[in-house]
Amino acid sequence: MSALLLRDVRLAARAGGSAMLALAFFAGVATLVPLGVGAELPRLARIAGGVLWVAAVLAALLALDRLFQADFEDGSLDLLALSPLSLEAVAAIKASAHWLATGLPLTLLSPLLGVMFGLPPRALLALFVSLLLGTPAVSALGAVGAGLTLSVRRGGLILPLIVLPLLAPAVIFGAGAVLEVLDGIPNGALGLLGAFSFCACVLSPFATAAAVRLNLGS
């Protein structure tokens, strides 16, 4: 299990892997926003939570279509399916590796971007915690989409269409957690986000495994 996890993380982390690309994309999107909406810091601070959350989701989606694809093409996915590891476990490990390679670096980078958006320290903390709690759900639900589009040529094109509506709650609660601090009105966003993320992470591997299984075709 840990061997598979390590292998996937190493593949993503090496030069040209998805981790750096996702980070660069995240920072790039975040840079374009002030150019589009204007540079006044109060306004930027107001939208920072939402913008960074949307950018993080998009950046995580970017790397998703290769989640199973490469292993599918070179046949290692068949070997994994034949291994004593259940396909549900493989799905969970793959999603975890995706999170370690994209979600976690994005979360670590987010305070820096938050400072550039003029967020006060306590809101930075809320942003950081909300991404830490919420990005696993993005990886878990994204893995379902990656499994479903496995045998689709250019599946990366319909993957976002499938996954984005499912991720709406994460963006809403994530951005809500930052607003909670800015407005000073308790709204319980972090708790809801944690609950959503927990359910997504527990349930998604089953759907992912079912999707991968049907595409392996037996």
Binding site: L148, S151, P165, L166, F173, G176, N187
Partner: protein, 236 residues
């Protein structure tokens, strides 16, 4: 019930039922519209209240369609029955259409009531997400080449969507209460007078039967298309 899982028996039943359903649809929609157009203007909304009879049933039907699609998907996934797959596939474009109709009439209603074509109201936003769910489902069906695989992939997506839909609904409602001032509570609420309730009821039933008629027709077409393909393959 299981008897009609056989495509031939289903075809016979569906063909026998369809004229009656279509007739009832026309009658109900006609009666609903006739009554609906004659209701007195609402004290707050004026004449625009009549849009409710087109809008609300469309929204209900769109949600029912997703429920039926998910149920058919579950049957198709568990019992591997091709007819259920076809039923789920046939429901999706109709559901998307009713969702779009709900959004369109909602937008037309919103213009005089809220002064904007679109407001980020909880219901509107969750309906927009519902539309995207439908579109993703249809796109997945079309993208996977092998039909049995497409059916199973789409069924999994429909079920994941069905589990997530209440959460999306809840989160969007939560979000609109967070953004106070942008959401406008609709006048009327549950206190709808009987004079409005009757046409609404008739229209809702009419929309439902319209959906069922079209659904049966699409399933029939799918079965016949499949047979035509088989004949072509055998003959060619």
């Amino acid at each position: 019930m299981l008897r009609y899982a056989n495509p031939t028996k289903f075809l016979a039943l569906s063909r026998a039922l369809r004229p009656w359903l279509a007739g009832a649809t026309v009658l109900l929609l006609g009666a609903g519209l006739a009554l609906g157009l004659r209701v007195p203007p609402d004290y707050q909304q004026g004449e625009t209240v009549k849009l409710m009879f087109l809008h609300v049933p469309a929204a209900w039907t769109a949600m029912m369609a997703y429920g039926l699609m998910a149920a058919a998907s579950l049957v198709g996934l568990v019992w591997r029955h091709p007819l259920a797959d076809q039923a789920a596939k046939a429901a999706a474009p109709l559901g998307a259409l009713f969702t779009a109709l709900g959004l369109l009439t909602g937008s037309l209603w919103g213009r005089p009531m809220w002064g904007a074509w679109w407001v980020w109201d909880g219901r509107l936003t969750s309906f927009l997400l519902l539309l995207f769910l439908y579109l993703g489902y249809i796109a997945l069906w079309n993208a996977v080449e092998d039909e049995t695989r497409a059916a199973r992939a789409a069924a999994i997506l429909a079920l994941v969507g069905a589990v997530n839909l209440p959460v999306i609904e809840f989160s969007v409602q939560w979000w609109t209460t967070l953004h106070q001032g942008e959401s406008i509570v609709r006048a009327g609420g549950p206190l709808i007078a009987g004079v409005y309730l009757w046409p609404l009821f008739l229209m809702a039933l009419g929309y439902t039967l319209l959906f069922v008629s079209l659904w049966l027709m699409r399933i029939e077409t799918a079965i016949l298309e499949r047979r035509a393909r088989t004949v072509m393959l055998e003959g060619g």
